[in-house]
């Protein structure tokens, strides 16, 4: 039974999104995702400044098992990336909600409402299993 914090929003593609007080959106991958991937060994992050649309490929998570694309849950400009994560990819497995990948300045904050809440994501993750 994976951990799904109630204060986050989720994409069906298993990214989590957190709206910060300053209006930016922090993005990572869920506990369900890291569990399915297995040990993460490499992470490719987008470049700072890149403009992404909602659902656009933003990076890659490579685990011992497979390579998996990461998608922007909402559209916006990449304003920060977590370089420390690149050096310790295993943090994604041990702390998926503390291991952020990148931050966006969203182009349309209402896109967050289109994401799944914790209950809806739980249902999606269960269907996946």
């Amino acid at each position: 039974m994976s951990n799904i914090p109630a204060d986050l929003r989720y994409a069906a593609s298993h990214e989590w999104a957190r709206l910060e007080a300053d209006g930016s959106v922090t993005v990572g991958i869920s506990d369900h995702a890291q569990e399915a991937l297995g040990d993460v060994v490499f992470i490719e992050l987008p470049e700072v400044g890149k403009q992404l649309g909602a659902g656009q490929e933003a990076g890659v998570v490579e685990s011992v098992k497979a390579a998996s694309d990461i998608y922007a849950p909402v559209g916006g400009e990449v304003i920060a990336i977590n370089e420390a994560l690149v050096d310790s990819p295993e943090s994604v497995n041990s702390d998926p909600y503390g291991s952020w990948f990148f931050k966006l300045k969203p182009s349309d904050a209402s896109e967050l409402d289109k994401l799944l809440d914790a209950t809806a994501y739980q249902a999606a993750a269960d269907a996946d299993a």
Binding site: G38, D39, F42, E62, V64, A67, E90, N93
Partner: protein, 365 residues
């Protein structure tokens, strides 16, 4: 639901994530396969290998039978318990399976050998062996009453010996590499699939659950198939069904060293086909690949050798000990020391090396 070893419930209790492996429900890992890999190289760990198949071969013509059946020569087993690694070939020279054979009985009347063959090929192997045994005074006995654990790593032998009777501890202390001996109804061998020192212990199915409990209780980590695969890959050891199969010659699978060509009069199954291949020159070889950049090499990725041709990765993964990706690949025989691999639509340069990247915890590349 696949087949299960006697340790299935214990794996679940230990937190294993279970997967299907050749029709068996086996532990992939107990939390982190990378951590389990490191544990074996630094200390030791225990693997459930009870899905593998033990076949005892006995009778006055057991030796002659195996000299016909196997591409390596059991006559090379000169002392009690000595073991060798061999291919079992079909008439076309393709690999039916790879296996280890131990000399267990060596009097003229009571020749005896123990074979350990792969789980996924069990039925095929036994049918083949029975079909070939017809002309020989030999009895084949599949030992479903036995289970098997492998304890591997630099501290494996010492830590296991601590937990056993004095007789078994003494046996462990004296075992030479690639030797296996019986003590009571246990059979203890200094063999393994990780490139580390260690033991493989064959014991009655009724005793394997308490024994694994004792090992884990003494702090020896259980290790899953995920780490088993990265450990054997680092050691340059083949996985049947991936690195070779019935369509592949041992000469194209880095197994030429396992063929005992001498004496020339030993007509093992597949010899004629192999001699023809050797005379014509085998067009492919199995090599090791090292990716220096970030990324993971995986089975079936295409290998391109400039000016020469193409090949394919047979096994690939991330190497936790080397902290980079490695692979085994079948490539044109004249391939030199560089090639390129296609990963998700882009070409990456790789170093080509002999298979075998880590041995006894030390890097070879």
């Amino acid at each position: 639901m696949g087949q299960r070893t006697p340790l299935y419930d214990l794996h679940l209790a230990l937190g294993a994530k279970m997967v299907d492996f050749g029709g068996w429900d086996m532990p992939l890992h107990y939390g982190s396969q990378v951590e389990e890999h490191h544990q074996v190289r630094r200390d030791c760990g225990v693997f459930d290998v009870s899905h593998m198949c033990v076949v005892d071969v006995a009778g006055s013509q057991a030796k002659a039978f195996l000299q016909r059946l196997l591409a390596n020569d059991v006559a090379r087993l000169e002392g009690p318990g000595k073991a060798l690694y061999s291919a079992m070939l079909n008439e076309q020279g393709g690999v039916i399976d790879d296996l280890i054979v131990y000399l267990t009985g060596s009097s003229a009347q009571e020749q005896g050998y123990r074979l350990v063959v792969n789980a996924g090929t069990r039925d095929k192997d036994l049918a083949w062996m029975h079909a070939q045994a017809g002309d020989f005074d030999v009895q084949l006995r599949e030992r479903r009453d036995l289970a098997m654990l492998a304890i591997q790593g630099p501290k494996a032998r010492a830590r296991v010996a601590e937990l056993l009777t004095q007789a078994r501890a003494a046996l462990i202390h004296e075992l030479k590499p690639f030797q296996g001996l019986a003590e009571g109804d246990w059979f203890i061998a200094r063999t393994g699939y990780t490139g580390e020192d260690g033991l493989e212990i064959v014991l009655p199915v009724t005793e394997v659950v308490p024994f694994l409990n004792d090992l884990v209780g003494a702090g020896i980590s259980p290790i899953g198939l995920g780490a088993r695969d990265t450990l054997r890959l680092e050691a340059g050891m083949n996985l049947y069904g991936q690195d070779m199969d019935e369509q592949v010659s041992p000469l194209a699978a880095n197994m030429a060293w396992t063929i005992a060509w001498e004496p020339a009069a030993r007509d093992f199954i597949g010899r004629a086909a192999l001699e023809a291949q050797r005379a014509a020159g085998c067009p492919s070889k199995l090599v090791g690949l090292v990716l220096e950049e970030r990324g993971v090499l995986r089975a079936h990725q295409v290998v391109r050798v400039e000016g020469i041709g193409e090949g394919e990765i047979t096994s690939g993964s991330f190497s936790p000990t080397l902290n980079k990706s490695i692979a085994l690949a079948r490539v044109p025989a004249v391939t030199g020391d560089r090639a390129e691999v296609e990963i998700r639509g882009k070409w990456y340069p790789v170093r080509v090396v002999r298979p075998g990247f880590v041995r006894n915890g030390k890097t070879l590349i």
